[in-house]
């Protein structure tokens, strides 16, 4: 019985020790330590390399990289913003930047480089990159980090087996369909795997057809436009072909996994995933390649070409507007050197213009030369990723409605009309 009380005493002291030990934990407020929060594990090493380079130049400042997964990143960032405990530097995504910037959470970085050049941003970054980093007021709230495009990934072996020529810049939607059909007939494998996704799916087709999801001044949705409706019907209709799995399949098997296990011949992929795909599927190297997106053969307007280009940026909280330690690190992140290191990691294309090839040449390490330059070529006709400040509120609801169309719970016309309504309601609510 004495043992028990001794055990209790030991436990109590352990609890006490624990709570004291916790005080030694990392904290954002320490001078000389900058915390940087990101969501992509694949980019951890690249970010660490930038942090190391900065530390070498500024030995009294250490940058601590923290990686969270995508969903939790935003849950946590919002909670942190609400309680005024944002990390020093964090990645911003176009889905959220307007929400954060317009609500005064982010520091205005428009004049970050004034000591260097007042035209630094426009000199070194494209219009799309800058608009991905702007608030609704046109001010810059993040240092552009990277820019991306969406391309077509295809299985060379299946094309060879079916006797179909590889996809190239002459391809249109018609080729996509006919090649898929032939491959399915000859090899029994799926053709182009079209699944419910926006950036890696229907957005590209909508803009190729001259349609839009949001109008230019972001005051109305475009799901009531003929060009948008036609493109949506084409894209959703792809799943009715035998050569395309249905949405139930994709709910259980990600298209990338279906592709790399040899179940299907084509799918859309963003350039930011290519490096991990090369590394994670070494036995597939040489058996697949990438091409530009097929064009729309008879667009409602435009030349039928488009690819969605998104871009992240590095932001800091409004309270750091005059924190020179943080601002100097941000300046480094947007510098030629900081962007070059990022490109060399091979995970993201630097937003800094002229450094696109640092990313392309990162793929030289592999025996098989993937045709990655198609991703940088597509910047010529890329379209800015869809965003407005109410996007976080409508994003998941649009997905739900789209899934209802796929499952047949609503017919496509009603579904698209509902999607239009959902976005317009969200816009009205955000403004009112």
């Amino acid at each position: 019985m004495k043992i028990f009380s001794r055990v209790v005493a030991a436990m109590m002291s352990a609890v006490l020790a624990l709570s004291l030990a916790a005080c030694g934990g990392s904290s954002a407020a320490k001078s000389g330590v900058i915390t940087m929060q990101i969501w992509d594990t694949a980019q951890r090493d690249g970010m660490q390399a930038i942090a190391d380079a900065y530390h070498e130049k500024n030995p009294d400042v250490t940058v601590e990289i923290q990686v969270t997964s995508w969903d939790e990143y935003w849950t946590k960032l919002e909670a942190a913003a609400t309680s005024n405990t944002l990390p020093d530097v964090f990645w911003m995504h176009t889905n959220y930047i307007l929400q954060y910037a317009d609500n005064g959470m982010l520091a205005d970085l428009s004049n970050l480089y004034d000591s260097e050049s007042t035209t630094y941003y426009t000199d070194h970054f494209s219009d799309i990159s800058l608009s991905n980093a702007q608030g609704s007021d046109g001010k810059i709230y993040g240092v552009p980090k990277d820019k991306d495009t969406v391309g077509l990934v295809y299985n060379k072996e299946m094309f060879d087996q079916a006797g179909v020529a590889y996809p190239d810049e002459t391809w249109t939607w018609d080729n996509l369909v006919s090649a898929s059909q032939t491959i399915y007939e000859k090899t029994g494998k799926y053709g182009y795997m079209a699944y419910a996704d926006d950036q890696l799916g229907y957005w590209n087709f909508v803009y190729q057809n001259g349609g839009y999801i949001l109008n230019d001044d972001k005051t109305a949705a475009g799901f009531d436009q003929k060009a948008t409706i036609d493109a949506m019907k084409f894209y959703i209709g792809l799943q009715s072909y035998d050569w395309c799995p249905d949405q139930k399949y994709f709910a259980e098997t990600a298209p990338g996994n279906a592709f790399f296990s040899g179940q299907g011949a084509m799918y859309l992929e963003g350039n930011w995933n290519l490096m991990s795909l090369m590394k994670n599927y070494p036995e597939m190297q040489g058996k697949w390649d990438v091409a530009v997106l097929p064009a729309c053969p008879n667009p409602e307007s435009g030349d039928g070409r488009a690819t969605i280009s998104n871009g992240l940026s590095y932001a800091t909280s409004a309270k750091n507007a005059n924190n020179e330690t943080v601002l100097d690190f941000l300046r480094f992140l947007g510098s030629e050197e900081g962007q070059r290191i990022q490109g060399e990691s091979g995970v993201a294309i630097p937003a800094y213009e002229g450094l696109e090839n640092t990313w392309v040449s990162a793929f030289d390490q592999f025996d098989y030369k993937l045709n990655v330059s198609v991703f940088t070529e597509m910047f010529d006709y890329s379209v800015q990723s869809v965003n407005d400040k109410s996007r976080p509120n409508w994003k998941s609801k649009i997905t739900d409605e789209l899934l209802k169309i796929y499952s047949g719970a609503v017919d496509i016309d009603t579904g698209l009309a509902n999607m239009n309504q959902i976005i317009n309601d969200a816009i009205a609510q955000a403004n009112g």
Partner: protein
């Protein structure tokens, strides 16, 4: 004679049925683990073959390599063990105290205070996540073991559970101790608490399982992968490899191993503990 025989026969039948159900159940319980192992040894292409192969054609070990390079398993093991340890200590110590008081002592507002315990059990834990995160963020305590333990510092369920257990101890035992000159604290620590061994053992297991299974809290409160637990680490792996099941299965197996070893060691004592204290 005849009834003796039929009795024996029915005993025999009983035995057969008992074993039949036990073995059937055991197969159902074990099969997912077997499948986990078999899948982890296949290539992605083989895992998605139709019809599936049961045994891997050529066992490969790359999936384990991917899992190990993607997750810092050593940190995850340590964090999980520390999380479990501290949550169990807190739950057992504080719940024993409160459970004893609610079961055996009289005080004002007892009904109301016990109501607070019961109502807490009805609250879904998701509503605590953001406020608790903000408390820790304001104290700059995120990214620490303490942050992991924080929501489990006290346990309403533990209090309720141990109160039930103290209720089962006859009043006379406490009164005897009191007459022997023990004060309330001594009665509790020296006489009553040792009698709840079974329940404390059960509470230990439950608290450990709850803590181990907690998925979202570690993901939210601890940003750094080196400060996560096995559950949240696996969720991260899933985020990375989506539906590449061979890698996910390899990761799951790696996450299981140390817990399995601990459990196999602990299990014997646990079961013995139950049977020993169970004799009344």
């Amino acid at each position: 004679m005849k009834s003796e025989k039929s009795l024996q026969r029915s005993m025999q039948l009983n035995k057969v049925l008992t074993y039949f159900f036990l073995i059937l159940g055991a197969v159902i319980m074990i099969f997912p683990f077997v499948w986990m192992l078999l899948t982890s040894l296949k290539t992605l292409a083989e895992s998605m073959q139709v019809p599936p192969t049961i045994l891997p054609a050529n066992p490969v070990f790359e999936n384990f390599t991917y899992a190990i390079t993607s997750l810092p398993f050593f940190n995850l093991y340590m964090n999980t063990i520390l999380l479990i340890l501290f949550r169990v200590i807190c739950a057992v110590v504080f719940s024993s105290m409160a459970g004893y008081a609610f079961a055996k002592l009289n005080f004002r507002f007892k009904g109301f205070l016990f109501g607070l315990i019961l109502v807490q059990m009805m609250m879904p834990s998701q509503i605590f996540i953001i406020p608790q995160y903000q408390m820790l963020a304001k104290l700059s305590l995120t990214n620490s073991i303490f942050a992991l333990v924080f929501p489990g510092l006290v346990s309403a369920f533990g209090t309720f559970f141990l109160r039930q257990s103290y209720m089962g101890i006859p009043k006379e035992i406490g009164e005897a101790a009191y007459l022997d000159g023990c004060n309330q604290w001594q009665t509790f620590t020296k006489v009553m608490a040792p009698l709840t061994g079974t329940s404390v053992a059960a509470l230990t297991v439950f608290t450990a399982v709850f803590a181990y299974g907690d998925l979202m809290w570690p993901l939210v409160v601890n940003t750094d992968i080196t400060m996560m637990t096995l559950s949240s680490g696996l969720a991260t792996l899933k985020g990375q490899f989506t539906t590449n099941y061979p890698v996910l299965m390899a990761g799951s197996l790696l996450a299981m191993i140390p817990m399995l070893i601990l459990y196999l060691i602990f299990q014997k004592q646990f079961v013995e503990g139950i049977s020993m204290t169970g004799g009344k």
